[in-house]
C-alpha cells in the first residue's frame, strides 16, 4: 500500500514538473536575495515576495532568503510582511537579479501592528497548520509573571499547549509529555528550558527574534521528538548601529548589547541576565537562620555573531550558557545548559540555498550534601549532543520548492556519577557513559497542484544505533508491573552496535483555498524519538535523567493527523481557526509501581513502555490590528495512556490531561503612552491518584487505592487573571533613548490554585489522615520592571 502511494506520488510529481516545463516555454529569470529590517539589518523570516495581483509568490525561509522565478518581462513585485510597510516596485526581468529588500516598520507606538513578519493572510494561504509564530513584540504585550516576559510562558497561552501546573518545567503539546518537544535555540537542542524550576525559561527575550511552535503537520526537515518543535531563533545583532537594551526587574536584571563590527556585513549581540533574589532576601533573615548563607540565583549569557562574507556566503556563530544555583552551607545544587552553534548559509545559485550547521549541546547538574571534611555525597549527571546537519532548499519553479538534507547526531550521556564519602572511605556509584547515534535524511516538497491546492509531502528516514562502549543488560520477562529479573549482560567495545532501529517518517500536508479568506488544511505526520525522560514525579525536576533507546527500550513513535478550517474576517483583522487532531503514541515510557529510578545501573527494568492517545479540538480567534489586539483560544481534549500492568490494563488519564482549556490574552493602547493588558486562563484540574482507603500496619496509616486505577480523581480547576500596564516615556529628541515602566499583577484575584492534592497523616495523631491542597502560588504577585533601549 505504502509503495503504491509513493509510486502514485512520483507519477504525479514528474507529471507536474513536465506540465510546468511545457506550459512555460518562454524564457524565465529569477529574483533572489534577502529580506531585512531597514532599522537594524535583522533578516525577516516568512515575508511574502509575490507578483502583484497574482498568487504567484514565495515566502522567505527561516534565514530570510527568497527565490522567485518569473517569465522574462516587466513585473510588479510586492514584498509584504505584517508590521512593515508593503514594498512594491517594478522590475524588468531580463536577467537573474539579486536584491536585498529593506523594509520599514509600519507606524509608531499607537497603531503599531504586531505579529511577526508574515503576509497578512498567511494563516489561511500557507501550507502550515497547527503552527504558531510569536515575535518578541507580541510576547512583550502579554502581562508577565513578576514583570518578566517569557517565551515559554507566552507559548502556554496558545491552544493545545498546557503544563501540569505553575512552576513545572517544560510544557505539554497536544497530550505529549514534556520530553516530546524539540526545543531548539538556533538549531541546538536545549534539554532543560527552565530557570527556577519552571518559572522562567532559558531564553533571554532581548536576544530572541522569533519563536515558532509546530504542533502538527511537522515538515520533513524536523525530527527527533514526537509532539512538537519549538524553534527559537536568536537575533543576529544590529548591523547598522550600536544598540543597548536592558531592564531592571523584581527578580532579575538583564542587558544586551548589539552592534555592527563591519557595517552591514558583520555584527554581534551579547545578552546577559542574572537574578538577585538571594541578595534581596538576605537582610530579612535572622543570623541564626540556616538559610542566611543561601545562594539562590540563576544567570545566563546568550551571544551571536554573524558575518556576511559576500552575496553568497554568510556565517553565524551563536552560543548559550546558563546556570541555576541553589547552595547553602551543607548543600549545593546547580544545573544548566550550554549550547554552541556554527552555521553557514550558502547560495549555490539562484535556485539552490544551503544551510550547514554544527552544534554542541550539554545539560548537566551537580548535587552535593554534607561538608567538605565530613561525610558528604556528590552526584553529577550530564547529557551531551554533537551534531552536523545540512539543509538544501531548491526553488525548482513557482510551483515546487524542494527541501532535502541530512543530519547526524551523537548522544553521549552519563546517567549518574555519585561519590559518597564517610570517614575517608569513598563509595563510588559510577554509571557507564552511554552512547547512541541518530542519523537521518529527508526530502520534502511543497507543491502547488493548482491555484487553490497546495501539497507538502516528504519523508524522513531516521536510523538509530545504540552503541558501545558499555554494558548491555538483558532481562527476562515476568509479571507485568514488577521488576524484570536480570538474565545476562554483555560488554561492547566502543562504536560497536548493540541495537539498531530504522524508522521511516512520512509527512504530508495539504491546503485547499476555499476562497480568498478561508481554507481547509489537512496533515499527517509520523515522528520517531530516540531519547526519553525518566521522571515519576508530579512535575519534572531538573534532576530527571534522560535515557536513550536501547536493546530494552524501543524508540517512541507518534502518528498524528490534523484537520483544520481557517478563516479571516474584516480584511484580515481577525484570524480564526478550528483544528481537530488525533495522536497515537507507541512506546511511551512509564514506570512500574514503586520504581527505583535513582542510581540504578539496571534502571531499564524499572521502566515499561506503553501506548498513548490524545485527541481534541482547538478553537482560536485572534485580532492583530487596531488598538485592541489579542486572542482567545479554547481547547477541548483528552489524553490517555495504556500500559501493561498499570491501572488494571485499562486506559488511564495522563498526568497532564486537561479537558477544557481557555486562554485569553488582550492588550489595549488606552492612551498615547499607556498600554494595558490582561490574561485570563481557565483549565480543568489535572488528574491525580487519590486513595479510597487506608491500611493500618505497624501503626502507619498507608493510603491505598483498592481499584488500582491511576489518576482516578481530578484536582480543582485552575483559573487566574493577570493584568499589566506599560508606560512609555517620552522619547528624548536628541538621543534615541527609550524607556518603559511595566507594572503587572499576577493572579489578581488571589486564587490559591491547587498544584496537587496529597494525603498525609496528621501530625502527632497517627490515626487521623487528611487531604492537603498544595499551591505553588498562594497569593497575588505584583511587580514593576523598568526597561530601556537606545
Amino acid at each position: 500500500m505504502r509503495a503504491t502511494l509513493i509510486f502514485l506520488f512520483l507519477i504525479y510529481f514528474t507529471h507536474s514538473f513536465a506540465q510546468e516545463e511545457n506550459r512555460i516555454s518562454v524564457e524565465k529569470y529569477t529574483l533572489t536575495g534577502y529580506i531585512k529590517d531597514e532599522k537594524n539589518g535583522e533578516t525577516l523570516t516568512g515575508a511574502m515576495v509575490s507578483k502583484y495581483g497574482s498568487n504567484i509568490g514565495v515566502s522567505a525561509n527561516e534565514y530570510g532568503f527568497y527565490s522567485l522565478t518569473l517569465p522574462k518581462g516587466e513585473h510588479i513585485i510586492s514584498v509584504s510582511i505584517i508590521g512593515y510597510k508593503t514594498f512594491t516596485f517594478s522590475v524588468i526581468l531580463d536577467q537573474n537579479i539579486n536584491k536585498i529588500f529593506e523594509l520599514k516598520e509600519e507606524g509608531k507606538n499607537l497603531d503599531e501592528i504586531i505579529i511577526t513578519g508574515e503576509a497578512e493572510d498567511k494563516n489561511v494561504s500557507s501550507i502550515e497548520m497547527s503552527t504558531a509564530k510569536l515575535d518578541i513584540k507580541q510576547i512583550n504585550k502579554i502581562p508577565a509573571f513578576l514583570g518578566e516576559i517569557d517565551v515559554i510562558r507566552a507559548i502556554q497561552l496558545l491552544p493545545g499547549v498546557t503544563t501540569v501546573g505553575e512552576g513545572a518545567s517544560g510544557f505539554n503539546v497536544r497530550g505529549g509529555n514534556v520530553d516530546q518537544n524539540l526545543i531548539l535555540l538556533d538549531e541546538a537542542p536545549v534539554y532543560n528550558s527552565s530557570h527556577l524550576f519552571g518559572f522562567f525559561s532559558v531564553f533571554n527575550p532581548d536576544a530572541v527574534k522569533d519563536v515558532k511552535l509546530i504542533k502538527g503537520g511537522i515538515p520533513a526537515q524536523y525530527g527527533g521528538r514526537a509532539s512538537s518543535i519549538l524553534d527559537v531563533r536568536m537575533k543576529e545583532g544590529n548591523n547598522k548601529k550600536l544598540a543597548v537594551t536592558g531592564g531592571i526587574g523584581t527578580v532579575f536584571s538583564r542587558i544586551s548589547i548589539e552592534a555592527p563590527i563591519i557595517k552591514e556585513k558583520a555584527s554581534f549581540i551579547i545578552a546577559m541576565r542574572r537574578s538577585y533574589l538571594d541578595a534581596l532576601v538576605k537582610p530579612f533573615l535572622k543570623d541564626s537562620n540556616p538559610l542566611k548563607n543561601t545562594q539562590f540565583y540563576f544567570y545566563d549569557l546568550t551571544a551571536k555573531f554573524n558575518y556576511r562574507i559576500n552575496e553568497k556566503n554568510t556565517i553565524f556563530a551563536s552560543g548559550y550558557l546558563g546556570r541555576d544555583v541553589f547552595a547553602a552551607s551543607v548543600f549545593n545544587f546547580n544545573y544548566g545548559n550550554t549550547t554552541a552553534t556554527a552555521r553557514w548559509n550558502h547560495i549555490f545559485n539562484k535556485k539552490l540555498f544551503m544551510n550547514a550547521t554544527a552544534f554542541y549541546s550539554n545539560y548537566d547538574y551537580l548535587i552535593q550534601f554534607g561538608s567538605t571534611n565530613g561525610p558528604n555525597f556528590k552526584w553529577r549527571s550530564n547529557i551531551i549532543n554533537y551534531s552536523l546537519k545540512t539543509d538544501f532548499i531548491y526553488y525548482l519553479n513557482t510551483r515546487n520548492i524542494i527541501r532535502f538534507g541530512a543530519q547526524s547526531l551523537l548522544y553521549n550521556f552519563k546517567p549518574y556519577d555519585a561519590i559518597s564519602t564517610f570517614e575517608n572511605a569513598n563509595v563510588n556509584f559510577v554509571a557507564e557513559r552511554r552512547y547512541g547515534t541518530e542519523s537521518s535524511i529527508f526530502v520534502g516538497i511543497e507543491q502547488k497542484i493548482f491555484e487553490k491546492l497546495t501539497f507538502e509531502y516528504g519523508l524522513r528516514l531516521s536510523i538509530y544505533n545504540y552503541i558501545g562502549k558499555g554494558t548491555a543488560y538483558y532481562f527476562r520477562d515476568t509479571i507485568a508491573n514488577t521488576t524484570l529479573p536480570l538474565q545476562n549482560s554483555k560488554n561492547y567495545e566502543f562504536g560497536q552496535t548493540i541495537q539498531s532501529y530504522l524508522n521511516p517518517e512520512p509527512r504530508f500536508s495539504a491546503n485547499y483555498l476555499l476562497n480568498k479568506s478561508s481554507s481547509i488544511k489537512i496533515s499527517y505526520n509520523r515522528m520517531a524519538q530516540y531519547i526519553q525522560l525518566i521522571s515519576n514525579t508530579a512535575a519534572s525536576t531538573p534532576l530527571d535523567v534522560y535515557t536513550i533507546a536501547s536493546n530494552n527500550l524501543k524508540p517512541l513513535t507518534a502518528d498524528q493527523g490534523s484537520l483544520g478550517y481557517f478563516k479571516n474576517f474584516k480584511n484580515n483583522m481577525f484570524e480564526s481557526s478550528v483544528e481537530c487532531y488525533y495522536k497515537y503514541l507507541k512506546n511511551q515510557l512509564d514506570y512500574i509501581d514503586n520504581a527505583d529510578l535513582f542510581i540504578n545501573p539496571t534502571v531499564e527494568n524499572q521502566l515499561v513502555q506503553g501506548l498513548g492517545r490524545a485527541y481534541g479540538t482547538e478553537f482560536y480567534l485572534k485580532k492583530s490590528k487596531g488598538k485592541i489586539q489579542g486572542w482567545i483560544s479554547y481547547t477541548l481534549s483528552k489524553t490517555e495512556r495504556l500500559v501493561r500492568g498499570i491501572s488494571n490494563d485499562n486506559w488511564f488519564y495522563s498526568r497532564y490531561d486537561r479537558t477544557h482549556c481557555l486562554n485569553t490574552s488582550l492588550n489595549y493602547d488606552i492612551a498615547k503612552r499607556w498600554n494595558v493588558s490582561a490574561n485570563f486562563v481557565f483549565l480543568t484540574g489535572v488528574p491525580g491518584t487519590f486513595p479510597n482507603s487506608k491500611l493500618q500496619i505497624q501503626n502507619i496509616n498507608i493510603p491505598y487505592n483498592t481499584d488500582g486505577i491511576r489518576n482516578n480523581y481530578r484536582i480543582t480547576p485552575y483559573h487566574r487573571l493577570d493584568i499589566g500596564a506599560t508606560y512609555s516615556f517620552k522619547k528624548n529628541d536628541t538621543r534615541k533613548y527609550q524607556q518603559t515602566l511595566v507594572f503587572s499583577v499576577y493572579n489578581v484575584y488571589n486564587r490559591r490554585n491547587a498544584f496537587s492534592i496529597y494525603f498525609r497523616t496528621k501530625d502527632g495523631e497517627p490515626l487521623q489522615t487528611e487531604a492537603v491542597r498544595f499551591s505553588v502560588v498562594g497569593s497575588f504577585i505584583p511587580a514593576v520592571t523598568y526597561n530601556f533601549n537606545f
Binding site: T537, I599, N699
Partner: protein, 295 residues
C-alpha cells in the same frame, strides 16, 4: 531521594514566599474490602502478635474493624513445627510464650497462613541475622546555634554505635527507639537502613564495615536527665525494608516533585480466585537491644 525533593520544594517555597498548603475537604469513594495482615514477629521474649483487620475508609478516625474469625498459624519450615495464634482483641491474634523458647530463630524459614471464610492467605519469610550493638550514648543538644530542631532547653540526643556483619550479603535493619519503655511510634520515627549506611548498596559485594557514627542517629527525639533510652535493632527482609520505604513515601507525598501515588507492595499471597484480596507484610526478626540511662 526524599531529602533532595524536600530541599527543592523548600527552595522553591522560599523563592515564592507565597507557596502554601491548606487542609481541604474532599469526598472520596469507598474502596472495596481488603484483609490487612500486619505480621511482624520477633525473637524477643514477649507475646507475639499478628493483627488482622479490614481496610478503613481513608478519612475514618476510628480504628480499623478487626477480623475475628481467622485461623492463624505460623509454621517453622526448618523445624517443621507449627504455632497457632489465638484471637485476643482489637484484631490481634496472639501466641503466648509461657516458659517456652521463642518461636523466631535466625536463619529459619517460616510460612504464615491465615484462613478466613474458607480461603487461606499465605506468606513466606526467612529470619535474617541482626547487627551487634556496641553502645548507646547521649549527647547534650547544642542550644546555641541555629539549625533544624534547635531548642533553648537543654536536652539530650541519643546515638547508636553498632557493628554490622561484613560479608557479601546486604543486611536490612529496622531500628526502634524507646524512651522510658514507650516506643516512638510516629511515622517520622520509623528508622530503617541497609548495612547501617542508610542507602542501598547495589553491588552486593560491597558491604560497609560498620554503622558509621552517627549514621544510626536516633532521630530528634529528646531526652532529659534520668530518662532511659532503649534501642532495638530488628533484622528485616529486603521486601520489608522496601515496604517501609514505600509506606513512608506514600504517607507524606506532597510538593512540586511529589511522586505519583502508588499502592505499596505486599508479601501476602492471595490465592487465585479469592474474592477478597489480602495485603500487608510478614517479617521475622532477630532483635538485639541496648539501653542507656541518661545521667
Amino acid at each position: 531521594m526524599k531529602p533532595i525533593n524536600n530541599f527543592l520544594f523548600f527552595s522553591l517555597s522560599l523563592f515564592l514566599f507565597s507557596s502554601c498548603e491548606d487542609v481541604v475537604q474532599i469526598k472520596l469513594d469507598e474502596g472495596s474490602e481488603l484483609i490487612v495482615i500486619d505480621a511482624f514477629i520477633n525473637d524477643l521474649r514477649i507475646d507475639q502478635k499478628i493483627r488482622i483487620t479490614k481496610n478503613n475508609s481513608y478519612f475514618s478516625t476510628t480504628d480499623p474493624a478487626p477480623l475475628t474469625n481467622a485461623v492463624v498459624s505460623l509454621k517453622d519450615l526448618t523445624l517443621n513445627k507449627a504455632y497457632s495464634f489465638n484471637y485476643e482483641n482489637n484484631g490481634n491474634y496472639v501466641y503466648k510464650l509461657i516458659n517456652s523458647d521463642t518461636i523466631a530463630k535466625t536463619n529459619h524459614q517460616y510460612e504464615l497462613s491465615v484462613s478466613l471464610n474458607g480461603i487461606t492467605y499465605t506468606s513466606m519469610a526467612t529470619q535474617k541475622r541482626s547487627a551487634k550493638i556496641d553502645s548507646v550514648s547521649a549527647i547534650l543538644r547544642d542550644t546555641r546555634g541555629g539549625g533544624f530542631g534547635s531548642t533553648k532547653d537543654p536536652s539530650y540526643l541519643c546515638l547508636l554505635f553498632a557493628k554490622d556483619k561484613t560479608d557479601s550479603n546486604a543486611d536490612y535493619y529496622w531500628i526502634k527507639t524507646y524512651k522510658n519503655d514507650t516506643l516512638f511510634s510516629g511515622s517520622r520515627d520509623i528508622n530503617v537502613c541497609i548495612d547501617g549506611t542508610g542507602g542501598e548498596v547495589y553491588d552486593v559485594n560491597v558491604d560497609s564495615t560498620a554503622f558509621t557514627p552517627p549514621s544510626a542517629f536516633l532521630g530528634f527525639n529528646r531526652y532529659n536527665k534520668n530518662d532511659v533510652c532503649k534501642v532495638e535493632i530488628h533484622s528485616i527482609s529486603k521486601e520489608s525494608y522496601f515496604f517501609f520505604i514505600q509506606a513512608l513515601a506514600q504517607i507524606n507525598n506532597g510538593g512540586l516533585f511529589a511522586q505519583t501515588p502508588e499502592n505499596i507492595k505486599t508479601n501476602i499471597v492471595t490465592p487465585i480466585g479469592a474474592k477478597t484480596k489480602a495485603v500487608g507484610q510478614f517479617n521475622m526478626a532477630t532483635v538485639v537491644s541496648a539501653k542507656k540511662i541518661i545521667k
